[in-house]
């Protein structure tokens, strides 16, 4: 549901707070517009009040996990967030995040995941490389090809090195692994799981009683190497080259 004229004051206030406190500029696509005939009408835009609240929640949650708005702005810098007609649910770069205008609404998990990509991108993707090293993983397309040729991969591509990127993840991934898993996604999911540890447990519990138990299941995310990495990164005890 788009933003109505009645919602606009609260929506505008949220946008101002996000840019003022967190340096996150939401591209405002709602407001009065003047037609060719000079007639003024209301344009609700793509954002809904609920989506703005979800965005705000994700930003606040990540900032809180990082230690406050100052740490958040130091890590991410100034960014822009908008909704555009793209095939992705979220597309992140060092400049900010684009969310899809699809009817499927964003959730806090997705917001934190995309912001984590931005954090990684701002570092020149060094954070995800550091996570790969810290967890004992590597990326090698040739080794992936070997594995596939030798029939050592599962059909779902969940095993290390069996994804499209030749990503041989080390230790247990934060929220499962599939064909699209790579170190960038690993980092973004690891940070998001750090922010929402209870939520991520529901995502790995599905592997508890199946063939992927040893690879993809853990009982407590805070006991994993990925949690330790993100915690160390936030607290400054793990330097990134």
């Amino acid at each position: 549901m788009a933003i109505t004229a009645a919602d606009s004051q609260i929506a505008d206030q949220m946008v101002q707070e996000l840019v003022g406190i967190y340096h996150v500029a939401v591209v405002k696509d709602w407001g009065e517009q003047t037609g060719e005939t000079g007639q003024v009408s209301w344009n609700g835009g793509e954002w809904s009040p609920d989506e703005l609240r979800t965005l705000q929640k994700g930003i606040v949650d990540l900032a809180t996990a990082m230690g406050g708005p100052d740490k958040f702005t130091r890590n991410l810098g100034g960014i822009t967030i908008n909704q555009v007609d793209i095939k992705y649910r979220g597309l992140a770069s060092s400049r900010g995040v684009k969310f899809t205008t699809s009817a499927v609404s964003i959730d806090a998990w997705t917001v934190v995941h995309e912001l984590s990509h931005v954090w990684d991108a701002k570092s020149g993707w060094r954070l995800s490389k550091a996570l790969e090293r810290y967890t004992g993983g590597r990326t090698n397309l040739l080794a992936m090809a070997f594995r596939k040729v030798r029939g050592q991969c599962d059909a779902e591509g969940r095993m290390p090195g069996c994804n499209r990127w030749g990503y041989f993840y080390g230790d247990i991934p934060p929220a499962g692994s599939d064909q699209n898993f790579n170190r960038k996604e690993d980092f973004a999911e690891s940070v998001t799981a750090y922010v929402y540890p209870a939520m991520v447990q529901a995502r790995v519990d599905r592997f508890k009683d199946g063939p992927y138990r040893e690879l993809l299941y853990y009982a407590d995310y805070t006991q994993t190497r990925r949690w330790a990495f993100v915690d160390g990164l936030i607290k400054g005890t793990i330097p990134v080259e």
Partner: protein, 247 residues
């Protein structure tokens, strides 16, 4: 000789895979300086298939409050039998719905007249599930859209499942309690939140039972009125005010 062939094949595959990624084919889009993520979702309609022919006829009504599931995510259909469920697909560029399945839980007193699991066939496609009342089973009905559903969602509590438990007079709701860094430790303790409702006249909330606690412990919370739930209390405050842990 065999090893050489394998090596050559692997190089060809590796270079091929790189090119495939580079040109964004087969869902492996290479995005220089960016990261893209996808989503698989399904729109679901559940209806009362009175004649059991697996087809929705004009005079057949919707069946509300059916639990639907995809992967780790659950949702429920609303008073009109409409619902949506989906899973986030990190790194997925296209055809993210492939390999995903949408399923439903058959409510007690009903039998499924259509398959209970359906493979997704496209992004945001619609899937219909029919149910027929079993002969002799009591009809379960809930007047309108329950206020408690809004009360929970307005407070940020994510109602994810709607089960019938025990006899026909008892219901169990399952929710994901949203968490923040501040509350995550506590929420982790009470992640599985099961509310026991007793039907008194309409639908009234009587007590909440919290599972997911350390082995042997159960927290039982007495909530006498809906107002206490629909107030501005956080889940943590609700637990501390109204719940007692019992061994």
């Amino acid at each position: 000789m065999r090893t050489s062939l394998l090596t050559l094949t692997s190089w060809v595959l590796a270079v091929g895979a790189g090119l495939v990624c580079l040109f964004g084919v087969a869902g492996c889009a290479y995005l220089p300086g960016a990261a893209g993520d996808g989503f698989a979702s399904a729109q679901v309609h559940t209806w009362q298939d009175a004649d059991g022919d697996s087809q929705q006829d004009p005079d057949e009504a919707a069946l509300a409050w059916v639990t639907i599931q995809m992967g780790y995510e659950r949702s429920i259909t609303d008073a009109n039998g409409q619902g949506m469920v989906g899973v986030f697909k990190p790194g997925c560029a296209q055809r993210c719905w492939e390999g995903e399945v949408v399923s439903i839980q058959v409510p007690p007193g009903q039998r499924a007249t259509t398959p209970t699991d359906l493979d997704l066939t496209g992004q945001e496609n619609s899937y219909a599930f029919g149910f027929q009342q079993e002969s002799g089973a009591p009809r379960l009905s809930f007047p309108g859209e329950p206020d408690w559903f809004h009360a929970f969602s307005n407070r940020g509590l994510d109602l994810t499942a709607f089960h019938y438990a025990g006899d026909a007079q008892r219901l169990t709701l399952t929710m994901n309690a949203p968490n923040s860094a501040v509350h995550s430790a506590l929420y982790a303790d009470i992640f599985d939140l099961a509310l026991t409702l007793r039907k008194i006249g309409g639908v009234a909330l009587e007590s909440v039972e919290i599972t997911g606690l350390p082995a042997g412990e159960v927290a039982v919370c007495q909530i006498s009125t809906l107002e206490e739930w629909s107030g501005k209390l956080s889940a943590a405050e609700i637990v501390s005010r109204y719940c007692e842990r019992a061994h």
